[in-house]
Protein backbone atom coordinates (compact mmCIF):
# COMPACT_ATOMS: atom_id res chain seq x y z
CA UNK A 1 0.00 0.00 0.00
CA UNK A 2 1.62 3.22 -1.09
CA UNK A 3 0.46 6.75 -0.42
CA UNK A 4 -1.55 7.07 -3.62
CA UNK A 5 -3.47 3.89 -2.86
CA UNK A 6 -4.25 5.06 0.68
CA UNK A 7 -5.43 8.46 -0.54
CA UNK A 8 -7.59 6.81 -3.20
CA UNK A 9 -9.14 4.41 -0.68
CA UNK A 10 -9.98 7.24 1.71
CA UNK A 11 -11.47 9.46 -1.01
CA UNK A 12 -13.42 6.60 -2.56
CA UNK A 13 -14.80 5.71 0.87
CA UNK A 14 -15.95 9.28 1.48
CA UNK A 15 -17.48 9.52 -2.01
CA UNK A 16 -19.35 6.23 -1.71
CA UNK A 17 -20.60 6.86 1.83
CA UNK A 18 -22.01 10.27 0.95
CA UNK A 19 -23.45 8.88 -2.30
CA UNK A 20 -25.40 6.36 -0.21
CA UNK A 21 -26.53 9.22 2.02
CA UNK A 22 -27.73 11.14 -1.07
CA UNK A 23 -29.96 8.26 -2.08
CA UNK A 24 -31.32 7.47 1.40
CA UNK A 25 -32.05 10.88 2.98
CA UNK A 26 -35.67 11.98 3.23
CA UNK A 27 -34.81 15.68 3.19
CA UNK A 28 -33.88 16.87 -0.30
CA UNK A 29 -31.61 19.63 0.97
CA UNK A 30 -29.60 17.06 2.95
CA UNK A 31 -29.33 14.94 -0.20
CA UNK A 32 -28.02 17.91 -2.17
CA UNK A 33 -25.42 18.74 0.49
CA UNK A 34 -24.22 15.12 0.60
CA UNK A 35 -24.03 15.17 -3.20
CA UNK A 36 -21.67 18.16 -2.92
CA UNK A 37 -19.42 16.06 -0.63
CA UNK A 38 -19.42 13.26 -3.21
CA UNK A 39 -18.56 15.66 -6.02
CA UNK A 40 -15.67 17.15 -4.04
CA UNK A 41 -14.28 13.67 -3.28
CA UNK A 42 -14.54 12.69 -6.95
CA UNK A 43 -12.77 15.93 -7.89
CA UNK A 44 -9.96 15.04 -5.48
CA UNK A 45 -9.72 11.60 -7.12
CA UNK A 46 -9.32 13.37 -10.48
CA UNK A 47 -6.37 15.31 -9.05
CA UNK A 48 -4.94 12.05 -7.71
CA UNK A 49 -5.19 10.56 -11.21
CA UNK A 50 -3.29 13.51 -12.69
CA UNK A 51 -6.31 15.29 -14.13
CA UNK A 52 -5.79 18.56 -12.27
CA UNK A 53 -7.74 20.72 -14.69
CA UNK A 54 -10.69 18.35 -14.57
CA UNK A 55 -10.62 18.45 -10.76
CA UNK A 56 -10.90 22.24 -10.84
CA UNK A 57 -13.66 22.09 -13.45
CA UNK A 58 -15.49 19.53 -11.32
CA UNK A 59 -15.51 21.87 -8.32
CA UNK A 60 -16.37 24.97 -10.38
CA UNK A 61 -19.06 23.52 -12.63
CA UNK A 62 -20.54 20.70 -10.53
CA UNK A 63 -20.13 21.74 -6.91
CA UNK A 64 -20.43 25.40 -7.85
CA UNK A 65 -22.88 25.75 -10.71
CA UNK A 66 -25.01 22.65 -10.97
CA UNK A 67 -25.55 22.20 -7.23
CA UNK A 68 -26.60 25.83 -6.80
CA UNK A 69 -29.15 25.20 -9.54
CA UNK A 70 -30.36 22.09 -7.70
CA UNK A 71 -30.64 23.91 -4.38
CA UNK A 72 -32.53 26.79 -5.99
CA UNK A 73 -35.08 24.44 -7.52
CA UNK A 74 -35.41 22.45 -4.26
CA UNK A 75 -36.13 25.64 -2.32
CA UNK A 76 -38.53 26.73 -5.05
CA UNK A 77 -40.68 23.61 -4.96
CA UNK A 78 -39.88 22.02 -1.59
CA UNK A 79 -42.90 22.65 0.61
CA UNK A 80 -45.78 20.63 -0.90
CA UNK A 81 -43.54 18.17 -2.70
CA UNK A 82 -42.11 16.85 0.54
CA UNK A 83 -45.51 16.30 2.11
CA UNK A 84 -46.27 12.96 0.48
CA UNK A 85 -43.16 10.77 0.52
CA UNK A 86 -44.67 7.38 1.39
CA UNK A 87 -42.65 4.23 1.88
CA UNK A 88 -41.72 2.29 -1.26
CA UNK A 89 -43.55 -1.01 -1.56
CA UNK A 90 -41.64 -4.20 -0.88
CA UNK A 91 -42.02 -5.57 -4.40
CA UNK A 92 -40.73 -2.27 -5.72
CA UNK A 93 -37.66 -2.52 -3.49
CA UNK A 94 -37.05 -6.12 -4.53
CA UNK A 95 -37.38 -5.36 -8.24
CA UNK A 96 -35.09 -2.34 -7.97
CA UNK A 97 -32.45 -4.29 -6.06
CA UNK A 98 -32.59 -7.10 -8.59
CA UNK A 99 -32.23 -4.67 -11.47
CA UNK A 100 -29.30 -2.90 -9.81
CA UNK A 101 -27.58 -6.20 -9.07
CA UNK A 102 -28.06 -7.19 -12.71
CA UNK A 103 -26.58 -3.94 -14.03
CA UNK A 104 -23.69 -4.08 -11.54
CA UNK A 105 -23.05 -7.73 -12.37
CA UNK A 106 -22.94 -7.09 -16.11
CA UNK A 107 -20.60 -4.14 -15.65
CA UNK A 108 -18.37 -6.12 -13.29
CA UNK A 109 -18.24 -8.94 -15.83
CA UNK A 110 -17.03 -6.53 -18.51
CA UNK A 111 -14.66 -4.78 -16.11
CA UNK A 112 -13.04 -7.97 -14.86
CA UNK A 113 -12.57 -9.19 -18.43
CA UNK A 114 -10.26 -6.34 -19.27
CA UNK A 115 -9.31 -2.78 -18.74
CA UNK A 116 -6.01 -1.20 -19.53
CA UNK A 117 -2.88 -1.88 -17.54
CA UNK A 118 -0.63 0.98 -16.66
CA UNK A 119 1.28 1.39 -19.87
CA UNK A 120 3.59 4.36 -19.63
CA UNK A 121 4.84 7.08 -17.36
CA UNK A 122 1.72 8.59 -15.85
CA UNK A 123 3.70 11.58 -14.62
CA UNK A 124 3.92 12.71 -18.25
CA UNK A 125 0.25 13.75 -18.03
CA UNK A 126 1.12 16.71 -15.82
CA UNK A 127 4.68 17.43 -16.81
CA UNK A 128 4.76 21.17 -16.11
CA UNK A 129 2.96 21.22 -12.79
CA UNK A 130 -0.50 20.69 -14.25
CA UNK A 131 -2.12 19.36 -17.38
CA UNK A 132 -3.89 22.50 -18.58
CA UNK A 133 -1.65 22.78 -21.62
CA UNK A 134 -1.95 19.14 -22.64
CA UNK A 135 -5.74 19.16 -22.32
CA UNK A 136 -6.05 22.44 -24.21
CA UNK A 137 -3.83 21.21 -27.05
CA UNK A 138 -5.84 18.02 -27.44
CA UNK A 139 -9.19 19.77 -27.13
CA UNK A 140 -8.56 22.55 -29.61
CA UNK A 141 -6.58 20.54 -32.15
CA UNK A 142 -8.05 17.04 -32.25
CA UNK A 143 -11.51 17.69 -30.78
CA UNK A 144 -12.39 21.11 -32.16
CA UNK A 145 -15.59 19.98 -33.88
CA UNK A 146 -17.02 18.20 -30.78
CA UNK A 147 -16.06 21.28 -28.77
CA UNK A 148 -18.10 23.53 -31.07
CA UNK A 149 -20.98 21.06 -31.05
CA UNK A 150 -21.00 21.08 -27.23
CA UNK A 151 -21.04 24.87 -27.14
CA UNK A 152 -24.04 24.94 -29.50
CA UNK A 153 -25.70 22.29 -27.32
CA UNK A 154 -25.16 24.43 -24.22
CA UNK A 155 -26.70 27.44 -25.97
CA UNK A 156 -29.73 25.38 -26.98
CA UNK A 157 -30.04 24.03 -23.42
CA UNK A 158 -29.87 27.59 -22.05
CA UNK A 159 -32.65 28.84 -24.35
CA UNK A 160 -34.70 25.70 -23.75
CA UNK A 161 -34.42 25.97 -19.99
CA UNK A 162 -35.58 29.60 -20.04
CA UNK A 163 -38.51 28.82 -22.35
CA UNK A 164 -39.59 25.84 -20.24
CA UNK A 165 -39.28 27.48 -16.84
CA UNK A 166 -40.71 30.95 -17.46
CA UNK A 167 -44.21 31.71 -16.26
CA UNK A 168 -47.07 32.01 -18.71
CA UNK A 169 -47.64 35.70 -18.00
Amino acid sequence: MDGQMLMFAALAGVALASAVMVVTRRNLVHSALYLIVTLFAVGAIYVLLRAELLGVVQVLVYAGGIMVLFLFVILLVERPAVAAPGKPRRVHVAASSLMTALVAGLLAWRFLAGGPDRAGDTAALSAQGGNLEAVAMTMFRDYLLPFEAVSVLLLVALVGAIVLARSKA
Binding site: Q4, L49, L54, Y62, L69, T100, T122, V135
Partner: protein, 100 residues
Protein backbone atom coordinates in the same frame (compact mmCIF):
# COMPACT_ATOMS: atom_id res chain seq x y z
CA UNK B 1 0.14 0.32 -6.20
CA UNK B 2 -3.02 1.90 -7.51
CA UNK B 3 -4.25 0.08 -10.62
CA UNK B 4 -6.97 1.14 -13.07
CA UNK B 5 -9.00 -1.85 -11.90
CA UNK B 6 -9.34 -0.34 -8.42
CA UNK B 7 -10.70 2.87 -9.89
CA UNK B 8 -13.08 0.90 -12.13
CA UNK B 9 -14.37 -0.94 -9.09
CA UNK B 10 -15.06 2.37 -7.34
CA UNK B 11 -16.78 3.68 -10.45
CA UNK B 12 -18.91 0.53 -10.58
CA UNK B 13 -20.02 1.03 -6.98
CA UNK B 14 -20.81 4.70 -7.54
CA UNK B 15 -22.82 3.85 -10.67
CA UNK B 16 -24.78 1.18 -8.78
CA UNK B 17 -25.70 3.67 -6.06
CA UNK B 18 -26.96 5.99 -8.79
CA UNK B 19 -28.99 3.21 -10.43
CA UNK B 20 -30.67 2.24 -7.19
CA UNK B 21 -31.44 5.90 -6.50
CA UNK B 22 -33.17 6.26 -9.86
CA UNK B 23 -35.14 3.03 -9.40
CA UNK B 24 -36.10 3.34 -5.75
CA UNK B 25 -36.77 7.00 -5.08
CA UNK B 26 -39.87 8.71 -6.42
CA UNK B 27 -38.91 12.35 -6.09
CA UNK B 28 -38.01 13.68 -9.53
CA UNK B 29 -35.28 16.00 -8.21
CA UNK B 30 -33.61 13.12 -6.39
CA UNK B 31 -33.75 11.06 -9.57
CA UNK B 32 -31.89 13.86 -11.38
CA UNK B 33 -29.29 13.87 -8.58
CA UNK B 34 -28.83 10.10 -8.95
CA UNK B 35 -28.27 10.61 -12.68
CA UNK B 36 -25.50 13.06 -11.76
CA UNK B 37 -23.96 10.30 -9.63
CA UNK B 38 -23.99 7.93 -12.62
CA UNK B 39 -22.48 10.55 -14.94
CA UNK B 40 -19.72 11.07 -12.37
CA UNK B 41 -19.05 7.34 -12.28
CA UNK B 42 -18.64 7.35 -16.07
CA UNK B 43 -16.27 10.31 -15.80
CA UNK B 44 -14.18 8.53 -13.17
CA UNK B 45 -13.73 5.66 -15.61
CA UNK B 46 -12.70 8.00 -18.42
CA UNK B 47 -10.13 9.72 -16.19
CA UNK B 48 -8.82 6.37 -14.94
CA UNK B 49 -8.23 5.18 -18.52
CA UNK B 50 -6.63 8.48 -19.47
CA UNK B 51 -4.34 8.06 -16.48
CA UNK B 52 -3.48 4.43 -17.23
CA UNK B 53 -2.69 4.63 -20.91
CA UNK B 54 -1.55 7.57 -20.49
CA UNK B 55 -3.49 9.62 -23.02
CA UNK B 56 -5.00 13.01 -22.29
CA UNK B 57 -7.90 12.51 -24.75
CA UNK B 58 -9.92 10.74 -22.06
CA UNK B 59 -9.82 13.86 -19.90
CA UNK B 60 -11.05 15.95 -22.83
CA UNK B 61 -13.95 13.54 -23.27
CA UNK B 62 -14.75 13.80 -19.55
CA UNK B 63 -14.84 17.59 -19.96
CA UNK B 64 -17.44 17.20 -22.72
CA UNK B 65 -19.46 14.90 -20.47
CA UNK B 66 -19.46 17.58 -17.74
CA UNK B 67 -20.69 20.19 -20.25
CA UNK B 68 -23.48 17.93 -21.50
CA UNK B 69 -24.41 17.09 -17.89
CA UNK B 70 -24.72 20.81 -17.12
CA UNK B 71 -27.09 21.26 -20.07
CA UNK B 72 -29.06 18.17 -19.08
CA UNK B 73 -29.47 19.43 -15.52
CA UNK B 74 -30.60 22.88 -16.63
CA UNK B 75 -33.24 21.51 -19.01
CA UNK B 76 -34.30 18.78 -16.55
CA UNK B 77 -34.81 21.21 -13.69
CA UNK B 78 -36.71 23.59 -15.99
CA UNK B 79 -39.02 20.72 -16.95
CA UNK B 80 -39.50 19.93 -13.25
CA UNK B 81 -40.45 23.56 -12.54
CA UNK B 82 -42.98 23.50 -15.38
CA UNK B 83 -44.27 20.16 -14.08
CA UNK B 84 -44.59 21.48 -10.55
CA UNK B 85 -46.52 24.48 -11.84
CA UNK B 86 -49.04 22.19 -13.54
CA UNK B 87 -49.36 19.29 -11.08
CA UNK B 88 -48.13 20.78 -7.76
CA UNK B 89 -46.14 17.58 -7.21
CA UNK B 90 -42.75 16.14 -8.04
CA UNK B 91 -43.66 12.54 -7.24
CA UNK B 92 -43.05 10.54 -10.40
CA UNK B 93 -46.06 8.34 -9.55
CA UNK B 94 -48.30 11.36 -10.08
CA UNK B 95 -47.07 11.92 -13.60
CA UNK B 96 -49.40 9.48 -15.35
CA UNK B 97 -51.19 11.52 -17.98
CA UNK B 98 -50.12 9.16 -20.78
CA UNK B 99 -51.03 6.05 -18.82
CA UNK B 100 -54.31 4.25 -19.62
Amino acid sequence: MLAPQHVMLFSLALFSVGVIGVLLRRNAILILMSIELMLNAANVNLVAFAWARPDVAGQVLAMFVIAVAAGETAVGLAILIALFRNRASLNVDDIDLLKW
